[in-house]
């Protein structure tokens, strides 16, 4: 595997429902953006999104919490994550989270109209 190949990094809490992780991955896949699931670790979703972003060649990270809450981070924004979900995600919202991260990577407008997301 080419270690320099671009990907969006994902860190999920150990207790995160696996179905949600799949949905996020499928959201990224549908938009044609490679993703890589990193090992679970402790921390808030905001912190984990920052760590994932720092590990991503695309500088984009997604974190999923134990209850299914989500944060999206960018390595260029260290102080906070870019977007945080208002609460645990449904499967459809998790798919959308992958799509949002993919569109960030592709520099396209973001589908934020459904009120799922807030800027911390």
């Amino acid at each position: 595997m080419n270690e320099d190949a671009p990907y969006v990094a994902i860190i999920a809490a150990e207790a995160c429902p696996p179905g949600l992780i799949d949905e996020v991955l499928w959201g990224l896949e549908e938009d044609g953006v490679p993703a890589r699931l990193l090992p679970s670790r402790g921390g808030s979703t905001g912190e984990l999104a920052g760590l994932a972003a720092a590990a991503s060649p695309l500088e984009l990270g997604i974190a999923l919490g134990a209850a299914g809450e989500c944060a999206i981070g960018h390595a260029a924004v260290q102080r906070r994550c870019l977007l945080e979900s208002e609460g645990p995600l449904t499967p459809a919202q998790a798919r959308r989270a992958g799509c949002i991260a993919a569109r960030l990577a592709k520099r396209l407008t973001l589908p934020l109209e459904d009120g799922t997301w807030k800027t911390p």
């Binding site: 044609g32 977007l83 569109r103 407008t109 973001l110």
Partner: protein, 612 residues
């Protein structure tokens, strides 16, 4: 003469400008206050009083006096013309039933061109058909199940040529198949798909565009159309040009109804009468206007779009001028072609196509000129002397001559909200003209062409340069350069085209997601050229002695549009090609292209006092 405080007030279509000067015997007028505010009511009516008082109040505040301390207020003798606008599409694409599915989902799957009978997903459980099929996959079917069963069906011999998927699963399904099939997804009107009908699905490689389904003759071959059906399918093909994917299905009852609305005939009356089919577009209409110039009226054929357009104009003019619609006479007309993005009526997916439309601006002469009444009301309200100071064009010329580097002979072009006016000294007096169509028409055209349905936003697009938010901290500007931001852009602006602040500051206004930077810039510049550059040349030709613009060696641009960030340079460049020195005026070396008329009023008054 003791020192007198004199105010000049210019009531324009959109703004009211004031200047205050101190006049002393034997000295040049000393300008001490200037202001600007929105015009209240129709220019030249008693409703202007509110704006005049505001403008005077602001200028007096600058000087540190009360308005009542002014010795005299001079109003411009406003040109008795009112501008109005209308727009009408002259073509319309109507798709009967569910012929066209295809649109442009952000992520279609696979690639290629497939054609065959459209069958429901469940039909794959049966025996394979002999002829190729397009399979419709409803949202109830997960992509993994869909991919598995499509793969199995292919193995069993089903000749599957393409897929239409209700959910946004095109790439996910394509990634789980061993063969490349064209897959169009995110089909909102899935339930309307015409099962059993011959259907073509095309998906181009990323960065490429569909080639077959946007070509009427290719469609004819794919869907087995006769020449008449091919002619009718042309509007659908046109709507698919430039897309990456799309679907067209053949219906048994015929494909489409590409309808051209009864556009109607415009008849221009003047030196002679000329009729022109509105469908032949702006160029033909303007040729008729030129041939008939000067105009006495314009009529539209009743019961047609041309008639409706003129009717709308007359009703608007009647409303704002207070004169009966039947007595309104159109004295000038500007027609501009515009392609308007419209949803394709009858399409299953959210397809749009560009329809031809004509935007019209008209100018009518009004008989109501209550300037005396306005001056009297102002006088009684403020307790000071007020009067009508002079003809607008003449005052504008006087004011323009205070710009450094400007001297006679010169022509001035005043580009306002509703009209473009031009004047030059000639013969005994002044040659001047008022032409329909200026800043407001540019706004209307931008609004229509970009499909905004938001006149305020269109106005902002007209006034401000755009940029693309290409990253959290980076704006790609129209000239290709990059501006870095100190803070990340808000998420809702990411990837969008934004408008830069007029003052160059940091405030960004996001535009709708479907707009691209090139389109925003090209529309803005196109309509500024079609309205303001075109009208400026038309105005100069009108006031020239023999219709030759080269007789003007110098042109000074004044008015609100001369403050625009690109209109003056567009005109400077265009007029330079004709050997004419042109640029925005700088009234009194301090006001830019503003305040020419108000300044001219005071200068004329001072000259009169000097002679007395």
């Amino acid at each position: 003469m003791t020192a007198r405080l004199v105010a000049g007030v210019d009531v324009g279509n959109a703004t009211t400008e004031a200047a205050i000067a101190c006049l002393e015997a034997g000295a040049e007028p000393r300008f001490i206050g200037t202001s600007l505010c929105p015009t209240t009511g129709l220019k030249g009516t008693i409703q202007n009083l509110g704006g005049i008082e505001t403008a005077l109040g602001r200028a007096a505040e600058q000087v540190g006096i009360a308005v009542g301390a002014l010795d005299v207020v001079l109003l411009n003798d406003a040109a008795p013309v009112v501008a109005g606008m209308a727009m009408q599409t002259i073509t319309e694409t109507v798709v009967t039933e569910s012929t066209m599915v295809g649109h442009n989902p952000s992520t279609p799957g696979g690639h290629g061109l497939g054609v065959g009978a459209l069958i429901p997903f469940a039909a794959l459980d049966g025996e394979p058909s002999l002829d190729s099929v397009i399979v419709a996959i409803p949202e109830a079917v997960r992509f993994s199940d869909a991919a598995r069963r499509i793969a199995a069906a292919l193995e069993r011999g089903w000749p599957i040529a393409g897929l239409i998927v209700q959910r946004d699963d095109g790439v996910l399904i394509a990634n789980r198949l061993n063969v490349a099939l064209p897959i169009v997804d995110e089909v909102a009107g899935f339930d309307l798909l015409p099962m059993g009908q011959r259907t073509a699905v095309e998906v181009a490689h990323p960065g490429h565009q569909v080639q077959a389904i946007c070509n009427p003759y290719a469609l004819a071959g794919l869907l087995h159309l006769d020449p008449e059906e091919t002619r009718r399918v042309a509007p659908i093909a046109r709507a698919l040009v430039g897309l990456r994917s799309g679907v067209v299905a053949r219906l048994p009852a015929g494909l489409t109804q590409g309808r051209t609305i009864q556009a109607g005939v415009l008849t221009v009356h003047g030196r002679r009468s000329e009729s022109v089919d509105a469908r032949s577009g702006a160029e033909a209409i303007m040729r008729a206007v030129d041939n008939a110039w000067p105009l006495s009226d314009v009529e539209g054929e009743p019961g047609t779009n041309a008639g409706a357009m003129l009717g709308t104009l007359r009703a608007t003019m009647s409303e704002i001028s207070g004169e009966p619609a039947e007595t309104i006479r159109v004295r000038d007309l500007l027609a501009v072609d515009v392609l308007v993005a419209r949803a394709v009526e009858g399409a299953v997916a959210a397809g749009t196509t560009l329809e031809s439309a004509v935007g019209l601006a008209a100018l009518v002469q009004t008989s109501h000129r209550p300037l005396g009444a306005l001056a009297a009301a102002l006088s009684s309200r403020l307790g000071i002397q007020a009067g009508v100071g002079g003809i607008e064009a003449e005052m504008a010329l006087r004011g323009a001559l205070t710009s450094p580097g400007v001297s006679l002979p010169v022509a001035i072009v005043d580009m306002g909200a509703g009209s473009v006016d031009a004047a030059t000294p000639g013969g005994e007096g002044l040659r001047s003209v008022h032409l329909a169509g200026a800043g407001e028409l540019v706004t209307l055209l931008i609004d229509a062409a970009l499909g905004l349905n938001d006149r305020d936003l269109a106005e902002q697009i007209k006034r401000r340069p755009a940029a693309w938010v290409e990253d959290l901290f980076r704006l790609r500007l129209e000239d290709g350069t990059v501006r870095f931001l100190p803070e990340p852009v808000p998420a809702h602006l990411f990837g969008r085209v934004v408008l830069l602040a007029e003052d160059g500051g940091g405030e960004l206004t996001g535009l709708p997601a479907h707009l691209h930077l090139d389109r925003v810039r090209s529309s803005r510049q196109e309509f500024k050229a079609k309205v303001l550059v075109y009208n400026t040349l038309r105005a100069l030709r009108s006031i020239s002695s023999y219709g030759d613009l080269r007789e003007f060696s110098a042109v000074v641009l004044v008015g609100g549009c001369a403050l625009d960030f690109e209109i003056p340079t567009m005109l400077t460049r265009r007029l330079a090609e004709l050997g004419i020195v042109a640029g925005s005026g700088n009234i009194r070396a301090s006001q830019g292209p503003r305040n020419a008329v108000a300044t001219g009023l005071i200068l004329a008054h001072a000259e009169g006092l000097g002679r007395a």
